[in-house]
């Protein structure tokens, strides 16, 4: 991304577009600075789509290159002014009649004509033929972009791409050129490999979801293979075991984008940040809404709740499912997702406050791999599973799902009792109360105390005097806990910990967030701390969770 290109995008102006003031384009971070918008409507998803579309359009035009064409770097398009930013040409030859003509056209005519010109240019320069009719392009200016036109413009782009592909395959000289370039790849062994299903599953299951989603377009067989339940589970199994990559869902932004941070450790550590936009259903797209993530990711799925909707989403594939509210009028707390492996179903949990405690409802989401094996499976509704008389220690955190059970920290019914965790078995749909050891301090119920999953077991971390203790529940029936780790509050060379959260374990080291935003590894073997990156002033650490991406789409 050169400075020219940045300038180029920033030049886009439109009454419906927020102006972009600046960019930061680092290898690990992409920031866009735009005007402050007091009205939330511009930051909604629709705005994002238009903006992305604009970028695409602009990118398309800027991508056109031809020895006789000066590269276009930027536009400014308003009712009274039209500017085009292009490379400085020291040699006069490019500014000759040919070029001037195009330039004048660009100045005089609307964008629709620009497309036609490019069409012509492509026709003469690259041997592509377009099926798009000239008359079809004569719709109002792109600058009056509406959702309808956005779709139209998309279909134009699509047709263009298709015709490009068609010519590519039918153009022998082009094909020959390609074949020469890649002759070394065209080996018989590569086609033997590609026809060997086992090897292909083996290779493809090592790739990230994003790459696989693109590879669906390679051929029918690959599309089938990638959606196949066997492949989905192989891929999931490999992703869970891969110790080299750790993904963290960091936050849901106001405009519905999810920030994912991946820490990759192959030869050296690489931290990347990605923004993901789930495919929100259209009716949510049009409402301006504030949404947040509910609970923790469960088998690659997350749950999002907005002011008047709830949905379950696989952020890797971007698929979403809207969860109906049901007939209930009362206010409820959406708690998050759990997974029941025996029935291969996801269950969404919500709670109501009632006079004697809480009432619990479940919503079942059936799993069918990625393909429609049971297209007729009805989408269930909310269903009441039981009440419990305990009060939940709720302070911004949600329930914790571990191994087919969900858990909450509760206040005991009697002060003297040591009842500590309420668990709901999602398969049996039965509640169970687990006590804590008598000697645990009062702090174990403090607001910053967090439940988490540690190697498939329920863990809890709390501060006892000056030591952070991490305990794991070993036995539900007998309430047996064991102390797995303890971290001294003061490690030489580092500031005093406050607010410690354990995200997970990698290669014997604990991944922690300390002091609201410093991500670090703690090595229990030699009591050392290694800072990975620091986002301290900007992060609300309760929303950071580990997550393993997969292709599971149970809806």
């Amino acid at each position: 991304m050169s400075i020219n290109q940045v300038r180029f995008i920033a030049k886009l102006r439109h009454p419906n577009l927020v102006r972009i003031r600046g960019f930061y384009w680092g290898s690990d971070e992409r920031l866009i600075l735009y005007d402050y918008v007091s009205n939330g409507s511009l930051t909604n998803v629709f705005y994002n789509k238009i903006f992305l579309y604009f970028l695409k359009l602009v990118r398309f035009i800027a991508k056109l290159r031809h020895p006789n064409l000066v590269r276009i770097r930027g536009f400014y398009w308003s009712s009274n002014e039209r500017l085009i930013l292009y490379d400085y040409v020291s040699n006069g030859s490019l500014t000759n009649g040919f070029y001037n003509k195009i330039f004048l056209y660009l100045l005089k005519l609307n964008e629709a004509i620009i497309h036609t010109i490019f069409k012509w240019l492509l026709n003469s320069g690259f041997g592509f033929s377009f099926t798009v009719q000239f008359s079809e392009l004569r719709h109002p200016l792109y600058s009056q972009l509406s959702y309808w036109e956005w779709n139209r413009a998309c279909s134009f782009e699509k047709e263009k791409k298709i015709s490009m592909k068609k010519t590519k395959s039918s153009n022998p000289s082009h094909a020959r050129e390609k074949a020469e370039g890649e002759s070394t790849c065209r080996t018989s062994s590569s086609s033997i490999v590609s026809s060997n299903e086992d090897l292909m599953v083996n290779i493809l299951s090592r790739l990230p979801v994003k790459v696989l989603s693109r590879f669906r377009c390679v051929c029918k067989r690959w599309n089938m293979l990638i959606s196949d339940p066997y492949f989905v589970s192989t891929h999931q199994g490999r992703a869970i075991q891969d110790p080299n990559i750790m993904k963290l869902l960091c936050e849901l932004k106001q405009d519905g984008l999810i920030r994912v941070c991946s820490i990759e450790e192959k030869e050296e550590r690489k931290v990347t940040h990605d923004l993901i936009q789930p495919n929100y259903p259209d009716r949510i797209l049009w409402e301006h809404c504030y949404a947040h993530m509910v609970g923790r990711p469960c088998n690659g799925l997350i749950c999002l709740e907005g002011s008047h909707f709830a949905l379950v989403c696989n952020p890797a594939t971007r698929n979403t499912l809207v969860i109906p509210r049901g007939e209930e009028e009362q206010y409820y707390y959406l708690e998050g997702l759990g997974f029941c492996s025996s029935s291969n179903q996801f269950k969404l949990v919500r709670l109501y406050e009632i006079s004697t405690g809480y009432r619990c409802d479940l919503f079942t989401i059936g799993q069918r791999g990625a393909r429609e094996t049971h297209p007729l499976q009805p989408i269930c509704s909310w269903r009441h599973v039981g009440d419990f008389p305990y009060h939940i220690c709720r302070s911004g955190r949600y329930m914790c799902h571990v191994n087919g059970r969900v858990h909450w920290i509760i206040w005991p019914l009697l002060d003297s009792s040591s009842e500590y965790v309420l668990s709901l078995d999602l398969e049996l749909e039965a509640f169970k109360v687990v006590s804590c050891p008598e000697h645990w301090p009062e702090e174990a119920r403090d607001e910053y105390v967090d439940l988490m999953e540690l190697r498939g077991e329920l863990g809890v971390v709390f501060l006892d005097w000056d030591v952070w203790e991490i305990w794991v529940l070993k036995d539900y029936t007998n309430s047996i806990w064991s102390k797995e780790y303890q971290i001294n509050e003061n490690i030489p060379g580092y500031p005093l910990f406050k607010n410690l959260r354990v995200l997970g374990i990698r290669r014997g080291r604990l991944l922690l967030i300390i002091n609201d935003g410093i991500f670090c590894y703690y090595d229990p073997r030699n009591n050392s701390l290694e800072v990975i990156f620091d986002e301290s002033p900007y992060l609300y650490s309760w929303f950071v969770t580990t997550y393993v991406e997969n292709l599971v789409i149970p809806f």
Partner: protein, 184 residues
């Protein structure tokens, strides 16, 4: 160490010699040896003479142990060893040196072009050499990772068999996932 020699015949009728211990790295050869079906030369009609020496080289390095190759694939640490209650620095260091050495060897070993990679992968698959299969598959995966579907088709000799309507849909999908913002 027993040094019984075993003879392998490639698809183009060339014979290669390998120690029995090394040959046991291959599940297929191991079964043949244990099954007592050994009569002089084992013919390998799916492996050519330019690939077989490579396979033998790998087997020699990993002869007898299947565990170490697994450790490499997991990045040097076994999954079961996530918690180390007794932290032994010396042991850890020695282990690290050994792993580093193997990694370096693998790097040199894996330095070849794409055609050899696919041939080697097929041979490893045929002979059931898990470590070598993992190694080659991992390399193939990292090679195709950043490619476009078009390049993949070229690479694997695949023709797009979508109908025009499906093709349109697929192009939309491809487009949706092609969200690199940079122009170049």
């Amino acid at each position: 160490m027993s040094s019984t020699k075993i003879f392998l015949k490639s698809s183009d009728d060339k014979t290669f010699e390998i120690d029995e211990t090394a040959a046991r790295a291959s599940e297929t050869l191991k079964n043949i040896i244990d099954g007592g079906c050994l009569d002089g030369v084992i013919p390998l009609p799916n492996v050519s003479s330019n690939i077989l020496p490579k396979v033998i080289e790998y087997c020699k390095k990993h002869g007898g142990d299947n565990g170490s190759s697994k450790k490499i694939a997991n990045g040097g640490v076994d999954k079961d060893k996530e918690i180390l209650p007794d932290y032994d620095e010396e042991e850890d260091k020695r282990e690290k040196v050994r792993v580093d050495e193997l990694k370096k060897w693998e790097e040199e070993y894996m330095d070849f072009d794409q055609q050899v990679l696919y041939d080697l992968m097929l041979a490893a698959n045929y002979l059931h050499i898990k470590g070598l299969l993992d190694l080659t598959v991992e390399k193939a995966a990292s090679m195709i990772r950043g490619r476009t579907p078009d390049q993949i088709r070229e690479n694997f000799n695949i023709n797009s068999d979508f109908t025009p309507e499906e093709e349109e849909e697929m192009i939309l999908i491809e487009d949706e996932w092609d969200d690199e913002w940079a122009f170049d």
